[in-house]
Symmetry: D2
Subunit: 342 residues, 4 copies
């Protein structure tokens, strides 16, 4: 039995306020298929948070199904998605996007970010009907490497998308970690103004499960619920998710959880830096990638769970992820142990 | 505000024992993607309940995604599914099976049941490579009309499947209602012996969400988790479902809930019969289809929610569904009101 | 070795004028992928024949691929096609439409024709997002039973399509046989005015292979060549088809071949009638369905190839198909033989 | 009007012996769907040529549809194909493979060839059920850069495939150019022994259209015709292709045409070399990639058609392709003109 798992931010099942809301909700009957009052309330709160009253909000069970539903809904068969080679849809969704018929055109990225210039290079390389037609761009905010797009970077990407007739989609599995990052210079409202469709992640920020897809572009709203249903993303007990998002958004819980998670990551990173170690990429949110001698990594693995990210000769970069539920004491204990190996 | 909804058996979110198990589970960390202890425990309990130690058990979020994952996993592109025209995959899943590329060959049914003879007639009609090849049979136990296959009927169907090189799949969204039906002459173990793959429904029997796919045929087990992942059915917080199924199966809760649900349906049906009304089909589980004068239906709709099933000249058959959470008093109040209209 | 095959209208590979055009065309180089002069000429001739200058014309290799390309291009994933149960896409294309993800909603038909009323009944039955959304109608002209839609029937269907936001598609594998039918009261131009997209069949009317898809509705034209390419329908040597359609349409060859084919069917039908036999459906084009005592059918099968269509107690309806290449003498010889069995 | 097109090897529609065979074949009736005598003869000749009597041979209309049919037939939904980034399925088939649901995992290649080491690196990188599972390898022989795998290279690849449970598929659009290359050390028989499935290209070697898929691995043969039909690859007039392959294989025509095509490419390359120019890759078959000053390229484009392949500062590599129909005089005239610009 290990002391703690830094493998991911979904090891702890749910924040108690979320569970408490569910405990209250079981006392009454609810309309099915996300047409209940709580889902409606949650949608209203999200519209308020992103400061746009006319977006459509849909609740689904997880990130992979959110991604495949969106691309299935907005793309014709020959249309493709542009993404980083580190993008979640490209690496860790078992071919979910291709499974709905669409190619992903990848470009390489060191820090997990895509650039406007890369988007344009992909568009320029697809010139005729013998090739797929790039029609959407996928980015993650925060990225799979914990980095956070700045407002300026996002605006450049969105401008490139509009110039090239591309839809911009943001995988917001960890969007709360991004918005509440110490390097972030934008709000949820800024996001909603610079994107065609995105989702607000619940699973990785305190909910038992659930993501909220937000459609900003009117052209993409039509019969979206048909697609959710067809792909198996519509829960009969939709209120199960609606109740949780209502709890997360009716006050600042959604952001507070992310702030805590980030704070724990920063504390962890500071301690590691003080012990003289470097990082694979900048520490900007709740995923950090310190580089340790491989022997140190071996020792750490005896008491802690985490992913080895990449081998670098005799060193190894590992991924440490904090969550809404990570306690200061866990961080300090880890650092104590690390200091013994240094 | 209506008094009660008989629209379905998923209006009440969860049984308190299920929720209580979740409340306990949030205190610790869990392995992701259904590889946690609770999911393993739940799988072990299910193996025990079906009396087969070597089946594979997988947890997914809902019925439609369970169905599309199974057929996506076990069929080649030209292979088709045989089902009743009233089968859920044929009518109410927005083309989920076709969405993964497979045709459904339907036959008409009055009571929601498929027969071995019908299966054979479909097989005989598909003779060459210009047609799809029937390769799987889909039945629901209990059916969409609340009826329950007898052991003999199921054995005939399975024998026909084996004779014709077809996989038999049971949609068990309401399998607990079937097994605990007053007309049922079989056990979970009998089911597992007469089927290639099926699922045990949680959503419609007391869980917040979740279904347990049980694969009995070894040939269908390979890399099933890849398919679950690809179709978006694998929850990061898989323990959310595992914990609930553990609670449902560690004692008799799963069956007790269904027994209660059925008992409420029988009580309701008896009362309706006593008032002189007839039914569209036999009352065998928690979905009943009484036939009322359309004027009576209009009056009932003022205080109750339910589905109008089919218009029959000046009468209407409606669907009334009871659940684990339906109280005797609700039934009696409904019957009182009905007696006033009679 | 049998005397003759009435199994279909594609047993004879090509009319000599078509082959002669190919023999001429091999002398020079041609642009690839249907961008050659001959394909352009053929498209221009077809635009002229349908009396519409702004339709798009695309050449593909066969009927099944024409059908799947069109529905793949014009439908979103949850959208379905309405068709007769005797429709080719429903019975004899091995699930090609479902293979691209779309359900076919079938209605039963005795004479192979769909009616406006049937279309509306399907639309009315699909009321919400738990069901597929009917978005296109498939009819064959002439039908799989050799019958021919009248102008009035087609107009009613198209009006129903426009009223219900449905695209109308005509499978014109045998459209020349329909237009040149003795019961036909419309022209190619009438067709083009009452349809969103259709194809003019080459394979079953004198070409080695090839069909010409004609897109009348501007909304359906965008990036159609991408879809043709993606589905494998774009021939590198597109001129192979263009040359043939140029030969078929540069004078009246396309219609002359169908007239001959129909005339042979009528001659055959008259002879059969004179011998006292009845038909399953009216004789309207080059597919006829006489009903013979099963013993007579057995004898005929010794010298002739044809399909047995349906058993009717001790009789059998068979399908006899004539082609551009069927000689009068073959008909007369068949009738002579039949008279011996009567 | 330009003097000649070196854009590809499918500008000339067909060799006269092929057309002559078709002219003969139109005189009689043929069984449909490739079940005619000529298709059977052609299949028998191919089995003889590859020296394996128990392979299955199927005729389809083109390369893209051959590729998508094969992968659609042999892969489960989560299974992926490994290919070079220059592979035809990856670049120039408009997402045909993804369109049937499968990801292509690409590796970079300078000379168009894939190596056993690259295959293994892809396999090693796909470790769990969150990723696609590599299950097939795609290579082109000759490659998209005109290079030719040696017997040793192919054996290494096939050994790697067997070791890693991968099917090996060869796109043989230009397999005759490869086998008859001056650097080739293998026979058709060697190919058939080192592959699970491949196709012999007709379109790019003298046929009007058509490719012959050869299935060597028994496990991949089942119900293949269903898949051909479902994907729209089965021609009603299958004899159209069968007759042509019979003509190509009943003597040495298939190889003779490729030998001529290669010889013209070598003559062209020799002349270019003598004028002092270099090549992007070795000249091994009928596609050559000389590097000229961009100004020379501009001049050449006035009289000749060809593809500009890649810009290299002030130079441009172009692709020149010769065919069965390219005359010596055309080569010499081109070289004369080039010498004027040098």
């Amino acid at each position: 039995m290990k002391k703690y798992s830094f493998k991911n931010d979904y090891s702890s099942l749910a924040h108690y306020e979320v569970l408490s809301a569910l405990s209250e909700a079981v006392k009454t009957q609810h309309e099915g298929y996300s047409e209940d009052i709580h889902s409606q309330n949650a949608a209203a709160l999200i519209k308020c948070r992103v400061n746009q009253s006319n977006v459509d909000v849909h609740f689904v069970s997880g990130g992979t199904i959110a991604n495949l539903i969106v691309f299935s809904a907005i793309l014709r068969p020959h249309e493709a998605v542009i993404a980083c080679d580190s993008g979640h849809i490209s690496t860790h969704e078992a071919g979910a996007i291709e499974g709905t018929g669409h190619k992903i055109c990848t470009v390489s990225s060191v820090d997990g970010k895509l650039t406007a210039a890369q988007i344009e290079s992909v568009v320029l390389a697809h010139t005729d009907e013998h090739m797929v037609k790039p029609k959407a761009v996928f980015i993650s905010q925060s990225t799979e490497l914990g980095t956070v797009y700045t407002k300026s970077e996002l605006c450049d990407i969105y401008a490139s998308c509009r110039a090239n007739d591309l839809y911009l989609y943001i995988d917001g599995a960890r969007i709360a970690a991004a918005i509440n990052s110490r390097v972030c210079d934008m709000t949820y409202s800024d996001i909603a103004e610079s994107v065609d469709v995105f989702y607000l992640g619940g699973t990785k920020n305190g909910a038992l499960l659930g993501e909220a897809i937000v459609i900003c572009n009117d052209d993409l709203k039509k019969e979206f619920r048909h697609i959710i249903k067809q792909r198996g993303g519509m829960l009969a007990k939709g209120a199960t998710i609606g109740v949780q998002f209502e709890a997360l958004f009716k006050n600042n819980l959604y952001d507070d959880l992310a702030k805590h998670s980030n704070a724990m990551a920063y504390r962890l990173a500071e301690g590691i830096k003080e012990l003289g170690y470097e990082f694979l990429v900048e520490v900007e949110s709740n995923q950090i990638f310190p580089i340790f001698p491989s022997k140190v990594v071996e020792k750490l693995m005896q008491n802690y769970d985490f992913h080895e990210w990449v081998k670098l000769s005799d060193k190894t970069a590992i991924r440490l992820v904090t969550s809404f539920d990570t306690h200061k004491s866990v961080i300090d204990e880890f650092l104590d142990e690390l200091s013994c190996y240094s």
